[in-house]
Symmetry: C2
């Protein structure tokens, strides 16, 4: 970038974005950059989350954090660095993560005696501390969450969806019995599911991962999977039953009430900034973003329609702002006079603001307010006196409609398949997700990938009905198969 060559338009024009219907991949990059959600950083695979994008993350944090604390979890902070000797203690864990680890080998001018991993996830360091903190059954359950940055050196990256560094929360809990741990794992998966469906308006399928796809070091991983419009699944939140694997590796034991020393049962669960990629992909349309009101950085924007005398109109606009802010609405008044109202309409549509409030001379005379919904572009004129309740009702309506639309789109992309030929057709031609019977063997699982590029996203149900679509032997369960991000 050569700042000396920057072109500085006196009045910016709304740069066109590639229509989503035409090229979803270019559309995605366009909206991320032009709505200023994020920008590329000068480090391979890293992004900068700009204020408008970070505000989405702050809303995600606020809602999730309250849910976690409501269930008894507390936040803490563990080191960014994990000594190599800790990472290697759980064999599967290190095997899974080592290829993606960024290593610190030097501090100042001195080489380090032992190299330090930048945490790709924190089971190892947290396991070490839990072994120190947990003494008896009275210390259990131990329910801790951390909001942090993590680094995984990825080959192919895209803003939000897959970045070398990303932000997330990682819950880490320790329990007295496997039953308790299991309850936690399923409870947190349900927290994710209800958050993603109710607050992000993204419908998901959920279930257990196969052994091949589970978290490195877990007994079992449970996942919620969203399906993007291009037919690729996006793993949106995972909850891991770590069994006693990490308890063994780090010696997390406790004195039980029967006087015996036992190994604890641990879990971990996480959701990351990748979920913002899912919001963008799921709801956006040809005009740009469409944010669900629960997490929209701006829920309503006021655009004064000023052609001559601005005083009265601006005064009214400010009054509307105050009234809605008081009602808890995240409201923005765009009173810049260097941009025309029509330009602003397009801009905020592109930015995905759920409601636009237009206020002009005629509206004031008629004691009315004009509100335009972003989800369906419906325009309505409402009496001034009904502003607050209408905005509340419309925000709710937008939230519900986005979910309904996304749910319809999801159902239209999930197909049952009773043969491998049909499965191939669903994945390759229909760009969908297939629901198929599977024998449970790694060999057949491998075939999905080799032949279609798709993987088992999750086990839908354990059932012995039907026959494996690959080998024809009797099935152990039904699985969702799709390509993925």
């Amino acid at each position: 970038m050569n700042a000396g060559n920057k072109q500085v338009p006196e009045k910016k024009v709304l740069e066109a974005i590639t229509p989503k219907s035409q090229d979803i991949s270019r559309w995605y990059t366009d909206v991320v950059l032009k709505a200023r959600l994020a920008d590329y950083a000068p480090i391979k695979g890293c992004m900068v989350i700009r204020p408008y994008g970070y505000a989405v993350w702050e809303n995600v944090q606020r809602i999730l954090d309250e849910k976690f604390k409501g269930l008894g979890h507390q936040n803490a902070y563990f080191p960014l660095f994990i000594p190599e000797s800790f990472l290697v203690k759980e064999a599967e864990h290190v095997e899974g993560f080592a290829p993606e680890v960024a290593w610190v080998t030097q501090a100042g001018k001195d080489p380090l005696e032992e190299r330090l991993a930048i945490r790709p996830t924190s089971e190892a360091i947290i396991g070490h501390m839990y072994a120190k903190w947990i003494e008896s059954y009275r210390d259990l359950p131990l329910l801790i969450n951390q909001w942090a940055n993590v680094v995984r050196w990825e080959k192919v990256t895209r803003p939000f969806l897959r970045t070398t560094e990303f932000l997330w929360q990682e819950g880490h809990t320790a329990h007295r019995s496997h039953e308790d741990a299991n309850f936690e794992v399923r409870q947190m998966l349900e927290v994710y599911r209800s958050f993603v469906e109710n607050d992000l308006a993204i419908p998901v399928v959920s279930g257990r991962k196969t052994q091949r796809e589970k978290f490195a070091g877990a007994l079992d991983t449970f996942t919620i999977e969203a399906l993007m419009p291009d037919g690729q699944a996006l793993q949106s939140g995972t909850s891991h039953d770590l069994g006693q694997n990490f308890a063994k590796a780090f010696n997390i034991n406790f004195l039980d009430s029967d006087g015996e020393r036992k190994l604890a049962w641990t879990t971990s669960w996480g959701m990351s900034t990748r979920i913002i990629g899912a919001i963008i992909m799921t709801h956006g349309d040809d005009r740009g973003l469409r944010f669900p009101p629960h997490v929209a950085p701006i829920q309503a924007v006021i655009v004064p329609v000023v052609y001559k005398e601005p005083g009265l109109i601006l005064e009214k606009a400010r009054e509307i702002k105050t009234r809605l802010a008081k009602n808890g609405v995240r409201i923005h008044l765009d009173d810049r006079d260097s941009f025309k109202p029509g330009w602003k309409y397009s801009e905020y549509e592109m930015m995905g603001v759920p409601l636009r409030i237009e206020i002009g001379q005629k509206d004031i005379e008629k004691k009315q307010i004009c509100i335009v919904r972003r989800d369906n572009l419906e325009k309505s004129f409402i009496p001034d006196s009904e502003l607050e309740e209408t905005v509340e009702r419309l925000l709710d309506a937008v939230q519900k409609n986005l979910y309904a639309q996304a749910k319809t789109a999801l159902f239209e992309k999930i197909f049952p398949a009773d043969s491998f030929e049909k499965l191939r057709e669903i994945i390759k031609d229909k760009h969908g997700m297939a629901s198929v019977s599977w024998c449970g063997s790694e060999k057949c699982e491998e075939q999905f990938k080799t032949e279609t590029g798709a993987t088992v996203r999750c086990i839908q149900e354990d059932s012995s009905q039907g026959n494996c679509v690959v080998c024809g032997s009797s099935a152990k369960g039904k699985v969702f198969v799709a390509r993925c991000y």
Copy 2:
């Protein structure tokens, strides 16, 4: 640590802490560990911030974040990594920070082409992005803050006060004129001062740093300095006028309204988890911590005094909890039956909870509630009907009293000195902070350090009155001199 050898007491006893009056250094370590604010991590100089300590940081974040946003700042997130070629662009900056940088040199199995610094501070990476984002004067001021972890490889560390990795916020702003930038620098220093004094109840002195002590790469650094009971100053928040140094290094320019391309003026300002060390040090006493109510993780604890029939008392305790929670009090009910009330009293005193509410059989009969203040141990019995208002009043009283006590302590430790002999006495014998005249030369500044181990904490005022206590030539200003953390 060998978990197999852990001693597990059936009932924990309150382990004695070293009295603060006897050995403040050991006292500090004792309270940090025993109140579970933090623990040592298995990485040199790193700590784990445990839930009780992290809750303090969450309160700090909540209050500061609201102040920042109220002044128009927005949060964003920049990468953890800074390529070496960026760090070196501002000469003073890299000279100051390079000795403390942790370097990533490898990812997975591959060596990196260019090594990456773990951010010790983010001026370099943010400067690069600002050059890209700022086009014209309409994009200014650009007011961004980031909550993040940073790493500085320190030789001597102590939990909170100085750790290799720490959490902080760093504000980074760009302006059209030096005047605007200067206003921001002073405004943010004032935000810090008022936060530290009003919310943390820690009185500070404030002023400009000398050129020797300023931030590496700044024109000028402004600071607030608290004085710990052992006479050591603690730099508690800094606000930097970066002039055009980083704008030059990263080419942050803008097209002004006069059609000319100009360099921007930038600032940065930060406060870190180190401030938690200041809270601990300033307010604690021989019994342990004393948290100012504004940031106390628990503002009031309820201890049911149950000797025989627990039902009625626990019911009352829960009612009190509900009433106070509804009133916005961070309240905790300790209904564990494995610990005696007396043990709990000591435990929560050690943990610094501002108010303790005791409720027993007799209190219920008399329709009264017993409240004990942590700051002065005053006990009062109040009518049940006055619970909410009394708790609110007492929390306010504790907050004010902690500040008043700390202010008295500060005044008792600041002395004017008109000779070097007196200065030496103040630093070495009285363990205080000296207010002295100084000629402004680096040579005399060096003498403070060589002869007393103290440094200029800040320039109190620019004035030509008096003579330099070192060389006797006419003074350029009054400065505060003290040893520091």
